[in-house]
Symmetry: D2
Subunit: 470 residues, 4 copies
């Protein structure tokens, strides 16, 4: 309520109580003021009532909520279902304008503020997560893969002759398709095996650059977060090479914000060499529903060019989700989540190691991968050919989700390219294995239950194979 309404209220309810109420309101306004003023994620999380108050204030500023509005356009933010209106806090106009997804909408001051603030708060979080020198970013309501496509399409305009994208192999369909969809030819560089780890073959990359010629190469498309035993690409060296040959460099940092190591790689890559953009998933890093990504970079004008490539207005839903989440967590809450994730990684590694040893397997040694772990399944494979895939479906049935079983010798054609040893990031990895990850939001209970159920599955498979032998 405004001051006039507080004054009238004093005639109804005793003035001193109303004054205290008005003062209490000011403390919410004060939090909002800091957010508007600094554009940073608040250190301490807001409670739900401040958050909803703020969202309601934003909604009131959009023309579809004006009490006296009359609309004779083709897009007036009308909503047929009140269930739908409510779940979007009556913020209906989406974000951006036809020319630019980061632009301000005349009809929707509130949604425009939402958009600007979200990008600003997210930028702050990228900094505190380790990429201190990031210059600009924006949230886009598309998958990481489609966002990478948008980056490639933007680069096309700057490098009209380029046809190739150099891509150290990672067996995940959407980042591969991101290049295909954009109309480029991926040049797959196989990884090299160092100990148990699969790492970037820098020499091969260098060779390809020279072979193909810089002007024919759209960019290098590297990856941080990935399933063990693959580890994050050697970003510093790749970035240095890109700088040397003047080749753009786009990093797929899908779920890397949650790991200080991944973020450090990006920060260092940009410091010593060239990184044009890095793209990360909203859902995997910020525990929001699937569907959004952040496109970030070190050169504000290039990031703006990308945002201007999105033709049309876009859904505000992912922005709204991440803004609510970051405001209610606060910077301290997010840091706490990251610290817990790291701690759970250690637990998971220990428990998986013990379990592996108990079953005659071993935890693969992949120290460069800060999130994903892999346990060999050589013994299981020795028991029977089918046992490895059986383990996968047993875990599914027992509601262990996310534990990935990788058998050997799986060849698969994806968009015209044959991947030998698909899913293992390598044409011939020595062992079949099982992956488990410690991703943001994981709990001690997740780890314990997973290990317990995995143990039971392995025992039951052993018994079964014994029985078959008799």
């Amino acid at each position: 309520m405004n001051s006039e309404n507080f004054s009238i209220s004093e005639k109804i309810v005793s003035a001193s109580y109303i004054r205290q109420g008005s003062q209490a309101r000011r403390s919410h306004e004060q939090l909002i003021r800091q957010l508007l003023d600094q554009g940073k994620c608040p250190e301490e999380g807001w409670n739900e009532s401040t958050t909803e108050l703020f969202l309601n204030e934003l909604a009131v500023m959009d023309s579809n909520n004006f009490l006296g509005n009359c609309g004779v356009g083709e897009r007036e933010g009308r909503v047929a279902s009140s269930l739908v209106a409510r779940r979007h806090y009556r913020l209906i106009h989406g974000i951006g304008r036809s020319g630019d997804i980061a632009a301000i909408q005349p009809k929707a001051a509130g949604s425009s503020l939402l958009n600007k603030l979200t990008n600003s708060v997210v930028l702050d979080i990228l900094k505190l997560s380790g990429v201190q020198s990031v210059a600009s970013c924006f949230v886009v309501p598309m998958a990481t893969g489609m966002s990478l496509t948008l980056c490639f399409l933007t680069l096309r305009h700057k490098r009209p002759k380029a046809r190739y994208i150099i891509w150290p192999r990672i067996d995940q369909k959407s980042c591969f398709k991101a290049m295909i969809t954009a109309g480029f030819e991926p040049v797959v560089v196989e990884n090299i095996l160092e100990g148990d780890e699969l790492r970037t073959d820098l020499e091969a990359v260098n060779r390809k650059m020279q072979e193909l010629g810089a002007e024919n190469i759209l960019c290098v498309h590297s990856t941080t977060s990935c399933f063990a035993p693959r580890v994050p690409d050697r970003l510093e060296e790749l970035a240095t090479m890109c700088a040397k040959y003047d080749i753009p460099h786009v990093v797929n940092n899908a779920y890397g914000v949650q790991s200080s190591k991944c973020m450090h790689l990006i920060q260092q890559g940009a410091r010593v060499g060239r990184i044009d953009a890095f793209v990360q998933s909203l859902d995997k890093n910020f525990m929001v529903p699937v569907g959004g990504a952040i496109i970030a970079g070190f050169n504000e004008s290039f990031i703006q060019e990308i945002s201007r490539m999105y033709p049309g207005r876009a859904s505000a839903s992912p922005s709204l989700d991440v803004l609510i989440t970051l405001l209610t967590l606060g910077a301290s809450g997010y840091r706490k989540l990251l610290a817990e994730r790291k701690e759970m990684y250690t637990y998971l590694a220990q428990d998986l190691k013990s379990l592996a040893e108990a079953h005659g397997e071993r935890l693969l040694h992949t120290p460069h991968n800060p999130i994903s772990l892999a346990m060999s399944l050589d013994g299981l494979q020795a028991q029977s050919d089918k046992a490895v895939t059986q383990l996968g479906s047993m875990l599914f049935t027992r509601q262990v989700s996310g534990a990935r079983v990788v058998a050997l010798g799986n060849d698969q054609m994806v968009s015209g390219h044959m991947f030998c040893g698909f899913m293992s990031h390598s044409e011939a990895y020595p062992s079949p294995y099982l992956n488990a990850s410690s991703a943001v939001g994981i709990t001690r209970n997740d780890v314990t239950l997973c290990i317990r159920r995995l143990d039971k599955c392995l025992k039951s498979l052993k018994k079964k194979s014994m029985a078959e032998l008799k």
Copy 2:
């Protein structure tokens, strides 16, 4: 509750009342059964309680809501904020898989059902809105423009040599940028003036096809819904030409679902010639928040190819919105909205005509445009150069949204292409004018208020100019 729980309840509350309650539950289940069975929009809208019951049932089937789930993957549908979880009905996993936005997710049976059903219900609505022979469609959480880009990117793989897109001019940035972003060169075909209307120059299109050569042309990119005095493109003739030269044809049907005329054009175009895909906005046709589109077509496998081009999982939010909306409206509710829109168009035309005459202007004669109307502003222009733009800002201040004022002689560069007479779809339209549209959801009150305020503005501008004269 299942039958066992109903039985136990009979011990607590009298059996006959519980039996009636259980029977009542069955009537909700019956509605759900019909939806699942037929995949069609229910004739009568569901009430909110059936709708929410259904959404809660879907959510229960997703792994993030399993009571005994343990997750060790990198994407487990965890949600940090309960505000966010609630607003998505705990449906967190989005839609599609890395390979295909229409694919089923093992972790999310409920979200997968949601996705399949939404596409199926939307297909039903496209049919009842006039495109009876549509074969397939899917909802994509992207703007109409970006969805057009996806169509163009898909066509590229089928027509590797093609560089051009033939595009009858329409002055709306995002559909132009859709071609630029996809990496093609738009070939702008100016419209021809027939009476007050701006219509497709079929001869010019034909000429361009011959000039450029079919294999160099990615597609024709035509438009239905648009601002008067431009009218929907001559789809039948364009489709016939496309068929003749074997050139793909993509139709921007942005807000055309709401108009039986636009839908009829598409149906006819596909019948007599070639239409590969037509794209429409969710928000403009179904009164949901901005951010989604429907990509539809007459050849199921081509539409599937497009859906397979989206790299990554996508937001379920637009699908959820349109499903809730169509279930609660029902087919009859949607038809009613369309009928009301048509009726309001008549009112708006009449009132605007009277107003125009009262101010010495005229309602442009644009019978081929079923949604948008234009009133000349020649007299206003004559008063003063600035008056026309002033009118625009006066209407904005008076909360008349969507009334577009188009001055003459506005030249603008968009992504490297110079548009003379920008916003008027023509290099030299004879009159400045004001647009008003009768779009779905418009009310009698919108029309009345708009006319009243417009009248006041025009009077006040006249007075002002009189005063200046003295």
Copy 3:
């Protein structure tokens, strides 16, 4: 947002858009100002966004929502469940203080405002519904019956010798029990039959007053709204007698607010004679959940005495419900509901009359009852003894709710008093009958379905009885 925050926002989003947003906010504030200032139900209903904005503002003023509050009392408005907090808009402190349910709470300025405004808005609605001279009222979160009890308990302190309450018979348990619970002896005055109607026996009441002696009589307890063929009590005459003998008069106006006739009776009674308090149900008159009542009267200090009799703080839930409802309906919306109810009464009467005639029954002539109708069931009774009660259960099974079947000769003991012909308000009503009411919120569809199903039931009972005869 306050003006400072709007100013900062102008740096983020263009100033003119923010200014329009801020102006839009003011129009909500303006509505709130009117409410606070006048304490009346707004003529036009508020939309949900203004309503929720207002409730959130109230909540912010309660100490449990202060950002810096620390609580070391035994009642701090803490809430364990966020589901619960949300459904109460975080208004947790209830209404009133230990001494007075209408009092202001120091810890809860927002809830106190809610309480005061609700009572004020409800008072306004009582006036516009026909009791123009009502002086004071308050909402109490108790059933109508329990609220009557509270009135009787208050009167006890003013009339220590009184033991009796004179009560023209109405066969509804809770108003009878209201007297028993308060510790008084109801003096039941049988109604007299005038035509089909059962009306107050004024002479008998007069006789009882003289017999018992005024000082031994706590009050007359009369009734307006009731099931036909009983009709509202003759309030004017009763009020005149009460004035003459100096006996208090409490009116049970359970669902009478919805009928201008009932309200007129109260207004007239108070004008010509004495009415100390009249009590009405919230749910039956305002379409809110069961559980609240309004205690109203013509002497402010007496109503205040009643409010001071409630020991302890009380639930704000019924107040919140009725405030939300009246703000969103507006006075005009409520009047519209009342007009529709009246119209439906006419339909129901016509349809019931036709149906009755088709089945050889008749619609009882009860013009003094503005809400409830009765159709004789003599023929049905003649068919078989059980048929009348069977009809009741058939209607229940067919989801016709609220249609009450009244058989003859039903004697029942209630709290020590034997009611002969229970449910018929009379020891020997000539016909069995069926009741149907046109209560606020009833729709044309309710009437149509009811008549159709009733027709089927009657036909099926006839067939059955024919079959049995054979």
Copy 4:
């Protein structure tokens, strides 16, 4: 969804995923089954999705939500505002029937189940909180005071001659008014000072019983939870006396459920003597909004008699709140809250002791009061007469809520009775003091902030008084 719908779903989404979804649903049903079957608070709390699923299932069983219902009664559960419908989960019919607040409603099987289950779950919690032999209880949507009134009104019917209620003094208005409202004369028994504690004067009670004569005494009305330095009444001895003289005994256990000591007193009192009913607040013990109470006892038929005294249907809102809260907390969650409360009591006592000593005051020694503490303010009083009351308002301004300052010599008339030394439970307590309580839901932060702010206030008052001396 029922099994048929799951089957159809298998045609849309792969059968194995649907089967897993269906199995996941069963685990929710299993939790509901246990609740229905055992009527106990689940050991582990339900998550919000199970809770809401269950409430939606209940709502579906109420006639106002039947898809085919037609209503022609005067109370059909219609709701005008969708905001209101939603916040009550569409459970509109309230609880009970006109004859009995615990009765089943034919129109509302779901609400009836809600009512029965709430009473059953609450009974379970009373047992686990220490009153193992409680036989019956029910939730009533009235304040503790009004609920006590209902108990007294019920007893009146069993003891028609009784006029007095013996009441060991406790200075809280609503429990005093509860007796006045019921029409009885409270016989106030002053407490005796033992050390710092104010305890029941058993001899005086005994004397009064003999003086007045058992048949003239309605009951003894004792109290457990109270502000220090008063301590819970000597229930065992009172109960023994009541048994001896055959006088009913009603215990005001306002916020005693949260304390094992208070509950133990009741359990013991009932074991060795006579307790007819004990009444407790919902909000103070279960962290729900103000407005409900639990009436409980050891004799099922007497508790039923009380429930039959409530005339009319009642609000289900408090029942709904406490059911949601207990289901989501679970028994383990509630026990954890109680344990935390106890721990915080220790902290509060320690911190208050240190603070008191630092300011030359002392923590009063009140070991029999398990919740409330008192710190003397003798020094403050010595400084200045006004300082004690000033401290109260300073704490209010600094958002310390619930810290009660009790000055000496405050005489107050309440409903005709003069209380000397009002608020101190004694005609002449030796010291002024400040109260602070450790009530359920208090946090470490509450304690810390309170002590810090209290310290500042005391220092600032000292400074001020020093300054005035100069």
